[in-house]
């Protein structure tokens, strides 16, 4: 099997800047408050992915899933470590595509296609198919800033899925879609999975991860703490705990408030 994605000891550190103006910085340093703080969003992560396998990326909110996908996609560069990928990468990161709000759906479609590496002829050839799948009808020539969040996600997903990519990243994309569209998307993802595309699927829905993925990676505070079988991964995350009864429901509600 050929390697599709290679990630070696990758670390990404974020700097949180608390104070932006000179005045705020001066006040903060007089009060001896920290001016900035660093934290590791992705901490020494290594794994290899073979072409054609589909990976479920799981973890709690803020565990570094989106950052890892951004590193694989090439939007960010790792501070240390090496990432290598093979072929064309498409996908959606952090619930939505990179659309320009003032452009219409049609213009964004062409621009997005070009960024993902499609030529003008290729985009024109697939145009009807993409528009039909996205099902945005007469809104095609309206600026995307007027779109509903569902329409926005539909168009983004439709473009990404029609690019004929070798690696497809789906980061909680389907969270905003309605049920019929979600179903359509999952079917489409199964289809590209069968064509041998490497898939990265981020979701909290265990059943859908079970159906879609061959392998699960679990991130916890930036560390890759589990890498292996799907069922074991879900068990590791305790998403399937039997004791998740009424009492715990109440606890978690309290927990959310505290």
């Amino acid at each position: 099997m050929t390697i599709s994605i290679q990630v070696e000891n990758v670390t990404k550190e974020f700097t949180m800047q608390y104070h932006r103006t000179l005045k705020q910085m001066a006040v903060a340093s007089l009060k001896r408050l920290p001016l900035q703080e660093k934290f590791l969003a992705v901490n020494d992560v290594s794994f290899n992915v073979e072409q054609g396998s589909s990976i479920g990326l799981m973890g709690l909110n803020g565990s570094g899933k989106s950052t890892l996908l951004k590193l694989i996609n090439g939007v960010m560069r790792p501070d240390t470590g090496i990432i290598r990928t093979r072929g064309r990468i498409a996908g959606l990161i952090a619930t939505g595509a990179g659309f320009h709000p003032q452009l219409t759906g049609r213009e964004n479609l062409f621009l997005n296609g070009a960024i993902l590496g499609m030529s003008e002829a290729e985009t024109k050839r697939k145009f009807d198919e993409i528009v039909e799948f996205a099902d945005i009808g007469k809104f095609l020539d309206t600026p995307v800033s007027h779109y509903s969040s569902g329409m926005y996600a539909r168009l983004g997903f439709s473009i990404a899925v029609h690019v004929d990519a070798d690696v497809f990243l789906a980061d909680e994309v389907l969270a905003v879609g309605d049920r019929p569209f979600k179903k359509k998307c999952m079917a489409k993802m199964q289809e590209i999975r069968q064509q041998g595309t490497t898939i990265f699927y981020v979701s909290h829905a265990t059943a859908s991860v079970r159906a879609m993925c061959d392998r699960v990676l679990v991130l916890e505070s930036g560390r890759l703490n589990f890498d292996g079988d799907v069922d074991e991964g879900i068990r590791y995350l305790q998403y399937d705990d039997a004791d998740d009864d009424e009492e715990n429901e109440m606890d978690s509600e309290l927990g959310a408030d505290v």
């Binding site: 909110n61 939007v75 290598r84 159906a211 429901e249």
Partner: protein, 337 residues
Amino acid sequence: MATADKKAESQAAIDERGRRENAARRARRMAKNQADAMPVVEASGPRQQRVVEAELISPAPRGGIIETIQQPYLLRLIVSRQLAQMYAASLLGLAWSYVQPAMRFGVYYIVMGFILKLHRDIPYFALHLFTGIVVVHYFSETWSGGTRSIWQNKALVQKMRMPREIFPVAAMLVAAYHTMPQLLVLVLCCVIIGWHITWSAVAAGLLGLAILVCFSMALALFFAALNVFYKDFQNIVSTMLQFMHFMVPMMYPFTRVYAMHGDHPILYQIYMANPVTQAVLLFQKLFWASLSDKDLSAEFPPDLWVRGLITLVACAGLLWLAQRFFARVEGKFPERM
């Protein structure tokens, strides 16, 4: 003392565990809700083997400006996007690129020419002035447009991978698109008046263009990157650009500047070190100086060519440095926006 420390430590550990348990519970609940909402589609049919003929490479290669030029289709889309955005909800549209310089020209011509009587010293004063306006217009638009370009395309920079130099480069092309009509007007005026064009004049024009492009591109790249970290820079740039018209010899003859080089050699050198000054002089050599039969070599510095070539080398060096700087900090753009 030690036990107290230990106690505090274990308390912290318990807190930490509690937090994690709560978070896990929340996630579990969410998972349950989502599991209901997320339809399950089982795979059907056999899996195919996909052969990818690409090499295993970094997903974010440091291609720089060169990679930008290798994607002309994407560059074209971004330039036309920029133009469309500029003229969205504008009545005059592209006519603005005539109106603004025309008004500026009118004001300078009246104030400097008729009131300050500078036009008496300069033959074809109008074209002397207009050549300078065209050069400075291109420079200003590239610099200020380039400086804002990354922020303006925030949505794309945060989510899509592409050589990010493409935005400053697109800003330069937009500026060129706006300057083109003015250049045509300039050429037309020259042809009507009678243009005695020579090879050395053409060479001067090309040298001036090369200096202008390198220098403005270097500044656009450098300030585009700085502006991501501190948005003050776009204000600094627009402040500096307000002085630009007075820092190049277009409203006043170069002879006046040259006259001070004996008394104030340092000031003179600073004035002449400005690459835009060089570009204006070289363009004037091509357009304005070719109009008259008189010998106008006193209107140019005696070392015009040597200076011009040195400036070009320096600007190419600056462009290289700006590209290095941009490539170095570019990886931090998405997190700082």
